[in-house]
């Protein structure tokens, strides 16, 4: 459990001295938390440890766990998972993000998960740009057993989305998951295209998309903050999917994103297989940040 591992972590430190806080700072930086956030966090921990007179390992452990989880979690915030509105069918989820972050794979995995909960799901292949992108989503659709709406080659993505929305409404499906092309946040034309996709959805359903999910590669460094800001500007982001956490990276930048923009992580990607998608678990994540020292 989290507690056991932290015990092991603290057993490695005979004394809680300056070295301890230096190591903690390195550890946070190494997890891509970012320099400023790491400094603030270590500073807060130092103060808290003093305030609570935490001299023992046990006491400091509690302080750290509290602080890390508390830093991330919003007090009073209820469940921050994916939302579903029975009265608002189809519940449209729009997936956005930079190139190669894991959008298409996440759409496939989530479709499987929703299907296994007995929901009806339809996919839209709105990446009409990248070589093989449509086939990739179509293969996911086959694997998972859901229909995929596709357009003609090099079609305007907004027109494919329009068609998808219409079909999903006609067929009364519970969920419509829209896969979009990867785009870097500083490309104005491509960001405008995303805006057009969003407006296309809102022409039919003005309160949708129910979720707009930024798919973020967990190995991304400080640039993730710029991604969150720019994508949020164009299509208000309701949550983050943090992918590739099965690798060597810990995705610490989401702490800074949470602090600055209050965008929660809703899902994590833990591999390439259909089952490798899980709800975000704050405690597990906090533990992950300690991976190097436990």
């Amino acid at each position: 459990s989290f507690g056991d591992k932290l015990n092991a972590f603290f057993a490695n430190f005979r004394r809680i001295d300056e070295d301890f806080f230096d190591d903690l700072e390195d550890l946070l930086i190494e997890s891509d938390v970012g320099y400023e956030t790491s400094m603030n966090l270590v500073e807060a921990l130092r103060d808290e440890a003093k305030l609570k007179n935490a001299k023992s390992k046990q006491a400091l452990k509690e302080v750290i766990v509290e602080k890390l989880v508390g830093l991330y979690e919003n007090p009073g915030e209820e469940d921050e998972g994916l939302t579903y509105n029975e009265a608002n069918k189809p519940n449209i989820y729009l997936f956005v993000g930079v190139n190669g972050s894991g959008k298409t794979t996440t759409v496939g995995k989530l479709a499987a998960q929703l299907r296994s909960q007995g929901k009806s799901v339809m996919l839209v292949a709105a990446d009409t740009f990248r070589a093989g992108a449509v086939q990739q989503l179509v293969q996911w659709g086959e694997r998972v057993g859901v229909n995929v709406v596709t357009g003609p080659e090099k079609a305007d993505p907004a027109s494919v989305v329009f068609e998808g929305v219409k079909r999903a409404y006609d067929q009364e499906v519970d969920y419509l998951l829209i896969d979009t092309a990867g785009r870097l946040q500083n490309k104005v034309n491509l960001m405008n295209e995303l805006d057009k996709i969003k407006r296309t959805i809102q022409k039919t359903f003005k309160d949708q998309p129910e979720e707009t999910l930024l798919v973020l590669d967990g190995s991304t460094g400080q640039n993730a903050m710029s991604q969150a800001k720019e994508f949020n500007q164009v299509t208000q982001i309701s949550g983050i999917v943090l992918t590739k956490l099965d690798g060597s990276s810990r995705g610490g930048i989401v702490i800074a994103i949470r602090n600055e923009m209050n965008i929660p992580v809703k899902l994590v990607g833990l591999g390439e297989q259909v089952g490798d998608l899980a709800p975000f678990d704050t405690e597990k994540f906090a533990l992950g940040l300690f991976k190097g020292l436990i």
């Binding site: 320099y35 930079v98 992108a133 086939q135 990739q136 991304t220 460094g221 640039n223 690798g247 060597s248």
Partner: protein, 308 residues
């Protein structure tokens, strides 16, 4: 991004110095703190940063800074020199075999740009050397990876050797190599599936492919937006495969690209090219000096040094 340039920061950290006269250890510490901060914000691995700072400190305490009338600018000059040197040479060419084909194997984490870059390399080789490359589709895992490479091959009018996804990557590469010999292709570019450097069985697959294809080039394709783990990842691939070079992708974004320095310093392998877009023509020669400036946010640096 809204970063203050490092040169400005260093100047600020050392402002008022001239009035005091002599530069002290404390002044140097203040300047190196700013350098450390800039490198960390650019995602340079923190261990690499530590080593780098130690080097800068050593030189900064030498006479070129201490006796200078413009110590701030001297430090900036040292930082620039050391960083550009660490970045390596520009325009390192791919290894070329004495007899055809020259073999290039693309490796890297998931989604970094291997398949796209395989196409870009083919495109460049054709333009520069009238090459007749063969692409081998050895990614049997990612859905539609073979389709993706076929579309790229079509666009470039380059043949793609593929066997779908039911044979092993090893078999596909073995047969693809045979085909290249028969057709007298002068280059073979092998697209492999993305994988984590900690995935032993998939790393073994790459070792087997290396054994079979005897590549002249093993190119690690890395995403320029990668954070601290860039060092670990590059080290993992290099330890397992002894890579020959690196291609950094997605530099058309607004990332500072500190991964370049981490990878370079950990593997000591050259950065061959940089990817600057999604089009198959968006592959550019690597410029170490530009990369250092980018990492440090020092667009204004050169002019300052010229004045120094």
């Amino acid at each position: 991004m809204a970063f203050e340039g490092l040169s400005e920061r260093i100047q600020n950290a050392l402002s008022g110095l001239r009035k005091k006269g002599k530069v002290t250890q404390t002044d140097i510490n203040q300047a190196t703190r700013e350098i450390r901060l800039a490198l960390l914000e650019a995602d340079v691995n923190f261990k690499v940063v530590k080593e780098f700072i130690a080097k800068i400190k050593e030189r900064a305490l030498g006479s070129e800074v201490l006796d200078s009338l413009t110590p701030g600018q001297q430090i900036i000059k040292i930082v620039n020199e050391e960083l550009t040197q660490m970045m390596g040479e520009s325009a390192v060419a791919l290894n070329k075999s004495d007899k055809i084909p020259t073999v290039i194997m693309m490796v890297g984490l998931q989604g970094t740009g291997k398949t796209t870059t395989a196409g870009k390399l083919a495109n460049r080789l054709m333009a520069e050397q009238k090459a007749r490359p063969l692409l081998i589709a050895a990614d049997i895992y990612r859905p539609a990876a073979v389709d993706q490479l076929k579309v790229i091959g079509n666009q470039l009018e380059v043949p793609v050797y593929e066997e779908g996804v039911n044979n092993s990557a090893e078999d596909i590469v073995r047969h693809g190599m045979q085909q290249a010999k028969e057709n007298k292709n002068d280059y073979v570019i092998i697209d492999t599936a993305g994988r984590l450097e900690i995935d032993e069985s998939l790393m073994d697959e790459l070792k087997n492919v290396k054994e079979i294809a005897q590549p002249d080039n093993i190119v690690l394709v890395a995403d320029a937006m990668t954070g601290q783990a860039a060092a670990t990842v590059a080290d993992g691939f290099n330890q397992a495969l002894d890579i020959t070079g690196v291609i950094l992708t997605k530099l058309d974004g607004d990332t500072r690209g500190g991964a370049a320095l981490s990878i370079r310093s950990i593997t000591n392998k050259p950065i061959l090219y940089v990817g600057e877009g999604e089009k198959l023509s968006d592959l550019d020669i690597f410029h170490p000096d530009r990369m250092s400036n980018r990492i440090l946010g020092m667009g204004d640096m050169m002019s300052l040094i010229e004045k120094a």
